[in-house]
């Protein structure tokens, strides 16, 4: 008979497919043994044992096949308690459920305390009752074993994400008035810890954080999970202050890593008014967590606040409008000129193509804001392709107008790299406009390189083989090792803006720039600096040996026709 209740395991159905389970009946009384066996034999395969020792022998030898042990307590050769203790004390055997057979009421509680799942009275209940309890015990044990196998994170022993949310939902159901906080803990730059100190040390860090989180969850009446690699969720009663969590986790880290610089970030969403559903609360806690800089050398706790909420609403609005914006062509491209400063007079060298979104209600939206949203919802590919098409069109237009082919650089996102027809698409738009691959430079961020090195290297090699120039964007923001740089195929290094902001005569920042100039020389590629805003920065960079400059000092991003005038005036 099929079981229609989807919430319980359908062992009867398995039974129909000849999936017979095996039960071990242990009793020193042949009459009892045979009566019980006779009741159960129709549904199960039965193994018998008449002493405790014999029972343990069978259990150890057939542990993978036994679904249940029915165990008499009073037997010669080791009583039932000894068998029960041996089963429950063994990592291998403890999953096998045991039902105790007893005529003593006093023994019932003791058996349950020692790990029996249920007890059956002597004289036996009616066979139907007995069979139902046996079936139920097996179902429960299968359920429990599945939960143990899939509900627990193998490394840290915390819950897995799915089970965590299930527990949290149950908690909400039974504590509708309780004020509960959603907490997210993230280890800062965890991939670096793995890279620098090895995966086994990384695992120790994860386990230490998990231990701390587990103790906090227990202490505050809540549940915790490892949501993914280095991110943990905690669902606990509302706390006024999270210093104790910070301290607990920091102490755990000190225990294993006194000499290492390991930090974590905590985001909290206190849902005092039960205004958001569970997933949303953790999204917000995560948002709070992400508001703490990854590079801070402090262990920080951020609480979700109104600003974050407004940002969330704004982002949700933009996310909802992306589709329409692409359809209605609400985007246009602008050009940020790049100047070659190697000779005396700066010369127009190229331009980086940037995208602008003119939202019909919200006006111009900054790319810093909407690009991550496009990356998140997967439509960055369409946007990138729009930009590339526009770029090619304008390069062609300038050539037609001024007789000069001015190459431009466009951004290639991480997802584009995994697109099998990337090269074909680029070649097609260039061909459509009568251009060559050298007329469009491709900017790929350094972080993309460090994420999936093998794939990126293969793709970049094929792009370069086809004649494209590839610039490594935001160099210095990621963590490429110098060793790795030598094996990366690139045609230019683009210095991350962060380096330029603080440069001054003889300070650390300019020394760093000088160092990177040497790296570029070593790789025999030009060094491009972006975000250059004033003459002081320009002169320092020129002196340091920078090759190409882009930034407001020379020009803000301009329209196609304005850039055309720059080409015209450059006299190229």
């Amino acid at each position: 008979m099929a079981n229609n209740n989807r919430n319980t395991l359908d062992i009867e159905a398995k039974h129909e497919q000849d999936f017979r389970r095996t039960i071990l009946v242990v009793d020193d009384e042949p009459v009892n043994l045979r009566i019980l066996g006779n009741i159960l034999k129709e549904e199960y395969d039965i193994a018998y044992a008449e002493t405790g020792e014999e029972a343990l022998y069978v259990i150890k030898n057939q542990k993978d096949f036994l679904s249940l042990v029915l165990l008499d307590l009073h037997m010669p050769g080791g009583n039932g308690y000894m068998v029960l203790e041996e089963i429950k004390g063994s990592e291998d055997l403890r999953y096998i459920p045991v039902i105790v057979l007893t005529a003593d009421e006093s023994a019932e509680v003791e058996s349950l305390r020692r790990g029996a799942i249920d007890f059956l009275n002597k004289p036996y209940d009616r066979p139907e009752v007995l069979k139902a309890r046996v079936r139920r015990a097996i179902e429960l044990s299968i359920d429990r074993n599945i939960i143990e196998a899939t509900g627990k994170d193998a490394l840290t022993g915390l819950l897995t994400r799915e089970y965590f949310f299930q527990y949290a939902r149950e908690y909400d159901k039974f504590h509708p008035e309780q004020e509960v906080d959603a907490v997210v803990v993230n280890i800062s730059k965890f991939h670096l810890i793995n890279e620098l100190y090895g995966r086994s040390f990384g695992n120790r860090v994860l386990c230490s954080i998990a231990d701390g989180i587990r103790s906090v969850a227990r202490g505050c009446g809540g549940v915790a999970c490892r949501s993914n690699a280095d991110c943990f969720y905690l669902y606990i009663e509302h706390q006024e202050n999270y210093d104790f969590l910070r301290k607990t986790l920091a102490d755990r880290l000190i225990d294993i890593s006194e000499n290492h610089d390991i930090h974590f970030r905590v985001g909290v969403y206190p849902d005092l008014y039960h205004s958001a559903h569970l997933q949303q609360r953790f999204d917000r806690a995560l948002q709070a967590c992400n508001s703490v800089s990854k590079t801070t050398s402090l262990d920080m706790v951020a609480i979700y606040d109104n600003n974050m909420h407004e940002k969330e609403l704004y982002e949700a609005k933009l996310l909802g409008d992306i589709e329409k914006a692409l359809l209605e062509n609400q985007f246009n491209v602008v050009f940020q000129p790049k100047y070659d400063i190697r000779s005396g007079e700066p010369e127009l060298y190229s331009a980086e193509v940037l995208v602008r979104w003119k939202h019909p209600e919200l006006g111009y939206i900054k790319p810093d804001f909407f690009i991550p949203l496009f990356e998140e919802n997967g439509q960055i590919k369409e946007l990138d392709r729009f930009v590339w098409r526009e770029a090619a069109k304008h390069v062609r237009r300038w050539r037609d107008m001024y007789g000069v082919t001015m190459p431009v650089s466009v951004n290639v996102s991480r997802v584009d790299i995994f697109d099998p027809d990337l090269l074909e698409f680029l070649q097609k738009i260039l061909a459509d406009n009568g251009l060559e691959s050298k007329d469009m430079h491709l900017e790929i961020t350094e972080t993309a390189y460090t994420d999936a090195v093998t794939t990126i290297v293969d793709v970049v090699n094929s792009l370069r083989d086809a004649g494209f120039k590839v610039e490594m964007d935001d160099f210095g923001r990621g963590y490429s090792s110098l060793n790795m740089l030598t094996s990366l195929p690139i045609d230019a290094l683009k210095l991350d803006m962060g380096f330029i902001k603080g440069i001054a005569e003889n300070n650390k920042e300019i020394s760093m720039v000088e160092f990177i100039v040497n790296v570029a020389r070593f790789l025999d590629v030009p060094l491009i600096a972006e975000g250059v805003e004033n003459s002081e920065q320009y002169l320092l960079l020129k002196k340091a040996g920078c090759d190409v400059i882009q930034g407001y000092y020379f020009s803000k991003p301009v329209s196609s026709s304005e850039f055309g005038h720059l080409i015209e005036r450059s006299g190229r």
Binding site: D28, E29, P30, V31, N32, R34, I35, N38, I39, D72, H74, A103, K122, P123, Y124, R126, P127
Partner: protein
């Protein structure tokens, strides 16, 4: 020994048969097996010798078997003896034991 003789004795035959999945032959076989147990004799010796702790263990084990066979009157006598021995009550165990043996004989001889 037949189903009818068991009924006559006062056994709860319906209960016993249900426990044996309605199989009369099997039920009768189990009763024969249960009643031919040498511990019935051994119990008398232990009681005579005043080894009440051992007697308790033995009668307790027999109680589990006879209970499952639903042999009402015999089960009641054995249960009484078990409880008396459990608390080491000062009762006439010899008389009780005799009753056990008589009831056993009555069943076996049908």
């Amino acid at each position: 020994m037949t189903i009818d003789s068991l009924r006559e004795f006062g056994a709860n035959v319906d209960e016993g048969l249900e426990r044996c999945m309605g199989m009369e032959d099997f039920y009768l076989e189990m009763i024969e097996l249960g009643l031919s147990d040498q511990r019935f004799e051994a119990l008398g010796e232990l009681l005579d010798a005043g080894r009440f702790d051992e007697a308790f263990e033995m009668v307790h084990a027999l109680k589990g078997v006879i209970g499952n066979l639903a042999l009402g009157p015999l089960y009641n006598t054995i249960s009484d003896m078990t409880e008396f021995l459990r608390v080491k009550a000062d009762v006439d165990y010899k008389a009780l034991y005799q009753r056990v043996m008589e009831q056993r004989k009555r069943i076996m001889e049908g």
